[in-house]
């Protein structure tokens, strides 16, 4: 085995006094060998991004490096002068960031931005030709036209390719990628992962890949390091760690990964709770006082029905209209046409007053637990608010809120606290309690776990499942994660560009997909070749 190209030795980075622990990163040792992908996995707050920032010399001010060395090609990066470091950065070390939408300068042509990397480091000659070659390397369609385009013309995936091209411009020996695919759709994520893998093979670059997703790890990693609370708890060959984790935390994390095994279908009830027929909604883009904008169809001719006690999954990538369709059902968005029949009554023509009795029977759990709770109100009031609106006496509603907190496994002491005192997972529990306070029949869950860490995600899914069976809820479950969908849903509807392209029982959709797009989606699940070991926990 050759000497590692990048070695982090016993790195400790302090947190300011008053932080939740003494050090952001403590005693971390990692090594990246030439031509190898090292994945650093961990949940939010585990210090994985901080480690990457330290390597790039991008640590925020006020976070001192307490001890340790970062050896890169024989130099200790931490001992280098800023000027010497600057010369290394970009030339020998490349970095790809998480958010492709904001990492490019919107006022600079793509070609100029990539070319800048050459110019800054004193490269002369035919920069344009080199940039074209790079764009070709990252498989962007039609490089000669993209080179003169502004970033807003490119999609998220294309921008991320441009970022990768910039990072690779000067042929660095190490590429640091900090969650480069987290903001992207599954199919795009797969393309980017394949691209990184391919480029890394061709060029022999070492890659330090930061991610929270074990699927991604299974897809590309050669070696894995698992981080928890600023420490590396387990490190080893990817296969070994994934299939036979040693450390309890790794075991817990892997056990929490949605396994994607199809849930046994339950006998469907006869009553139809919800029937959606021919729903369409289009938004207008642009336009002004005298000119109407061009319509963009968000949902077109959507039809599905839900039987009592059943869970239907709406699956699709961002922009496929799944959230809009769900919002049409609760009338947060008014569809242009179609019918939403709830127990045979069309909800769409109802006014505010006539809708009121149905409001309590259809409830919704939102995606972002940080945005879905009013920061200025106490948790008890947030939960009791719904029943109070529907005429339940305040004391009774508060008593019920206390019971609900117990149901979602939170302490009743939470009643008098504010949402910001809770973690993301706890807030999502509060959101679920709020939805359940009205004793709904139909629960609409709009990506309820996508903003959460894996282990928390598993808890919330288990909670939802338990509540669903206990209360006999009918559920419309929206998600972009097919593994989650398989686990939770009885039937699946796949949406693409506003249309439901395939619908059927989960086992059928996953086992024998009929539509090309469904096959593409299934194909793009990261690490689909890897099934988390059952006995991991």
């Amino acid at each position: 085995m050759t000497a590692p190209i990048l070695a982090i030795e016993n790195l400790t980075i302090g947190l300011p006094i008053g932080g939740d622990r003494a050090n952001a990163v403590e005693g971390v040792s990692l090594a990246v060998n030439p031509g190898e992908i090292l994945c650093v996995v961990g949940e939010s707050g585990s210090g994985k991004s901080m480690t990457a920032s330290a390597v790039m010399g991008l640590l925020p001010k006020g976070l001192p490096v307490r001890s340790g060395r970062i050896l890169f090609e024989g130099n200790d990066l931490l001992a280098l002068s800023p000027e010497a470091f600057r010369r290394l950065r970009g030339v020998r070390l490349g970095m790809v960031f998480q958010e492709p939408m904001t990492a490019l300068n919107p006022l600079m042509r793509v070609g100029d931005q990539i070319g800048e990397a050459f110019r800054v480091h004193g490269e002369r000659g035919d920069v344009r030709a080199k940039v074209l070659a790079l764009l070709e390397d990252v498989r962007l369609p039609d490089p000669p036209s993209i080179i003169d385009a502004y970033p807003f013309r490119l999609s998220g995936g294309q921008r991320q390719r441009v970022m990768i091209a910039m990072a690779l411009a000067l042929g660095p020996s190490v590429l640091i990628a900090d969650e480069p695919t987290t903001a992207l759709d599954v199919t795009t994520q797969m393309q980017i992962l394949r691209l990184i893998r391919g480029l890394q093979k061709d060029r022999g670059t070492g890659v330090l890949f930061i991610t929270h997703d074990f699927g991604v790890v299974a897809e590309i990693a050669d070696r894995v390091a698992v981080m928890q609370h600023g420490r590396v708890v387990e490190q080893g060959e990817a296969r070994a760690v994934l299939d036979a984790p040693q450390h309890p935390y790794t075991k817990a994390l892997i056990a929490a990964v949605p396994h994607g095994r199809v849930r046994p279908a339950e006998a469907a009830h006869a009553d139809t709770v919800l029937k959606v027929a021919g729903v369409a909604k289009s938004f207008r883009r642009g336009g002004g006082l005298f000119r109407r904008g061009t319509p963009v169809a968000a949902v077109a001719d959507a039809a599905f029905s839900l039987k009592k006690g059943e869970t239907l999954g709406l699956v699709g990538e961002s922009g496929s209209g799944k959230s809009t369709l769900a919002r049409c059902v609760v009338k947060l968005v008014t569809p242009d046409e179609g019918q939403v029949l709830f127990h045979g009554t069309d909800l769409l023509p109802l006014g505010r007053g006539a809708m009121q009795p149905y409001r309590s029977r259809i409830q919704m759990v939102f995606q972002d637990p940080y945005a879905s709770l009013n920061p200025r109100r106490r948790v008890g009031d947030i939960i009791a608010e719904g029943p109070v609106t529907h005429g339940v006496p305040r004391e009774q509603a508060r008593a019920r809120a206390r019971d609900l907190l117990a149901l979602v496994q939170l302490d009743p002491g939470a009643m008098d606290r504010f949402p910001h005192e809770f973690s993301g997972g706890q807030r999502q529990r509060i959101g679920i309690a709020r939805a359940l306070a009205l004793e709904p029949e139909l629960l609409i869950a709009d990506e309820p776990v996508s903003a959460l860490d894996v282990s928390v995600q598993a808890q919330i899914l288990a909670l939802l499942d338990e509540i669903r069976t206990r209360l006999g809820l009918t559920m419309l479950f929206i998600t972009h994660d097919l593994r989650v969908a398989a686990q939770v849903c009885d039937r699946i509807a796949v949406m693409q560009r506003g249309r439901i392209v395939e619908m059927g029982p989960t086992a059928e959709v996953f086992g024998a997909p009929r539509h090309a797009y469904t096959r593409e989606l299934l194909d793009a699940i990261p690490g689909k070749a890897w099934t988390p070991p059952l006995e991991a926990a």
Binding site: P16, P60, K61, G62, R327, V330, L332, R352, M355, Q356, R359, S360, I362, Q363, M364, F366, Q367, D368, A371, S372, L373, N374, P375, R376, R377, E385, G386, T389, H390, G431, R434, L438
Partner: protein, 281 residues
């Protein structure tokens, strides 16, 4: 970190608050410190500061300048406070309806607001006071009428961005009415900029009142700082103290209100303050 601690980090804001407290005390204690009408002739005219028992001198009719300033403070605070409350009531309501309602309601309200914004505010205030005869009520009304449009714009912007937040959608799904949503869900989250704006509006209102009084459009029964400057203007070469001391009072009060406004802004938006370097990270 508590709100008060963040506020106390800004030394300018503390100084401003101290000045405000002093001016406020002066306004409240005026009847005790100077237990006579500020219009009363107390001695020889044109006495300089410290002469003949006049702390800050006497004016052309032998009235006590210090007493005028002390009694005028109450008028200034009254006008500033009441007109700001009135402007907020109007501005917040219209802004909330525009931002939450959207569509043609929003268009109508915003065009109405722009109508007021296109008229120079001071000229409009002068016209209003002149038509309705100068009195404390007409002055308060005039100042409120010219100062609500910025409130409407700020509140509308806040409501527009908060309206699409998920907690508002959640309240809609729960079946809450639009008025309940506006006032219990959105407004508490939009309070920070409103509070900051209000502190600055009080300062502007005091300036406006002084300007109106300076032009002779003040309430003829109430002593006010602007009136004192106006009446001292013609004799400024022989009796500078008649204009300078009321001027200093206006300057200090307005400065203090601005400092407090700045401090409130930093304390209510801690992240912005840190970026600006007021607070160490």
């Amino acid at each position: 970190m508590s709100f008060w601690k963040r506020f106390a980090r800004n030394i300018g804001a503390l100084v401003g608050l101290a000045i405000l407290v002093l001016v406020g005390l002066m306004a409240v204690l005026a009847p005790v410190l100077f237990p006579f009408s500020p219009w009363e002739m107390r001695g020889i005219p044109f006495m300089g500061p410290g002469e003949a028992g006049f702390l800050l001198g006497s004016d052309s009719l032998g009235r006590d300048v210090a007493a005028g300033i002390a009694h005028g403070a109450l008028v200034s605070f009254l006008v500033g406070g009441v007109s700001t409350v009135a402007a907020l009531a109007l501005g917040v309501t219209l802004g909330a309806v525009a931002g939450y309602g959207g569509g043609w309601i929003d268009d109508a309200i915003m065009r109405f607001t722009e109508f007021f914004q296109t008229i120079p505010s001071f000229v409009l205030a002068v016209v209003l006071v002149a038509i309705f005869t100068p009195s404390i009520t007409s002055i308060v009304v005039a100042i409120a009428v010219v100062s609500w449009p910025p409130v409407t714009r700020v509140v509308r912007a806040e409501f527009l961005s908060l309206r699409s937040r998920e907690f508002v959608q959640a309240a809609e799904v729960l079946g809450r009415g639009p008025i309940a949503i506006m006032f219990t869900e959105i407004l508490p989250n939009a309070l920070s900029p409103i509070i900051v704006l209000a502190s600055l509006m009080v300062a502007t209102a005091i300036l406006l009142e002084s300007s109106l009084s300076f032009l002779g459009l003040g309430d003829p029964n109430l002593m006010s700082w602007g009136f004192m400057i106006g009446s001292g203007r013609s004799v400024i070469r022989i009796a500078w103290w008649m204009s300078v001391f009321p001027g200093v009072a206006i300057f200090l009060t307005v400065l203090a209100l601005n400092l407090v406004g700045e401090g409130l802004n930093d304390a209510l938006n801690p992240r912005l303050a840190r970026r600006r370097g007021t607070l160490p990270a």
